[in-house]
Symmetry: C2
Subunit: 225 residues, 2 copies
Amino acid sequence: MKLQLLIKMNEALFLRNPESSELGKSILKHSVQLINKTGLETFTFKKLAEDIGTTEAGIYRYFENKHKLLVYLTAWYWSWLEFQISFHTNNINDPKIKLKRIIKLLGTPVEDDEQTSYISESLLHQIIIAEGSKAYLTKQVEEDNRQHFFKPYKDLCAVIGDIILECSPKYKYPKSLASTIIEMAHFQNFFMNHLPSLTDFGRTKSETEIVAFLNDLVFKSLKES
Amino acid sequence: MKLQLLIKMNEALFLRNPESSELGKSILKHSVQLINKTGLETFTFKKLAEDIGTTEAGIYRYFENKHKLLVYLTAWYWSWLEFQISFHTNNINDPKIKLKRIIKLLGTPVEDDEQTSYISESLLHQIIIAEGSKAYLTKQVEEDNRQHFFKPYKDLCAVIGDIILECSPKYKYPKSLASTIIEMAHFQNFFMNHLPSLTDFGRTKSETEIVAFLNDLVFKSLKES
DNA sequence: TTATTGTGGTAGTAATACTATCATAAATAA
DNA sequence: TTATTTATGATAGTATTACTACCACAATAA
């Protein structure tokens, strides 16, 4: 049995749907690779076009600019991750076990999914770590938000917040704790690898320690006091 | 009595010391205003020059590029904040009270200091919230780190980490908890104001709630279990 | 058959991110 | 006092970036 996981993307994020053509899929695939290689700042549509073997104008027919492309990629990732989470926590009743699973999924490097061949989830995960916050840390956040560009991120956050409340109905900060877990899963990873003295994981550089830290943080927070 | 708080900056951050001349101070003052107004992405040295009434080349004599200027401003902020913290926690013996003061200083809008007239700390605080992470979320982090550009941030984190250990000597993640507090003090503020559904403070938009959340997070983490 | 749509290519423009050179006024050292 | 350094200003030039407009062609629908 081979299933195609289809993620319905916000149409305002692109000019032409990149999943609808070969060039479009190639843009997604190679942009993920190139952003990883060069970083968002030095990434340009011209370099991407050369990489793919097409022209700048070809890329511009799909995406208005690199900000939209970044927002597209991050939105895709959050949607994909929410599906992974709902898949891996399905049929689990205990919300605490659910939450543990989620923290593990957030903190552990993802394995590539054969289904969606044109996007490498593990490379995309790296982009989320290093560039993800740049999608919303702009002057246009509110305009972008009005167009629902961040809906997948907010949905994920809401899902986690609800599970937190299931664990501990009286806890006062479920949404803030949810966004803290998500952001810290990525920032601690970045710090561990590039600014290790900001973490306690510099020696081992092991993701399982990040997961342990987040578990400690979350479950102590949710303990009745 | 009038004291001038002098922050010794890493000399590799600038080509000519901006604190040593009128134009230099003007660059600092107006860059803080302009970055706040336009955001880092659309901020250019040309616009800054027009703002000040000088030429692009004039700015380039002080700073190599806008990345160095951003790193300079963030480093200045972290040094200033560490001084504020050491000042406001001086003579306090109880590490828990110290930590509470620190969380309050991190989460509360700063009042402008009359001493350093050319830098508005409150505007700089806003820059740290919206642009701060862009100083290190680049491909050059490690090179920048080798040149000690992030020393003030790491020092602050170490100070907070040590106080955490004083509170709870057995706690296993003092540095990660310290960087979590610092980052979340800013991210929760940004979310509260621009993506409120990611937080529990969207209704009141009050910084004191962020402080309460961080206190809850930290002191539950440090409780012996 | 013709018209439309989807797709790819060429060329050009304005802005950005610099670098280099020259002139001059003020501050400072000899 | 003169000589010299220093800070700033003005002008010009280049490579790259971030687009826009226009053209060509093949598949498909009317």
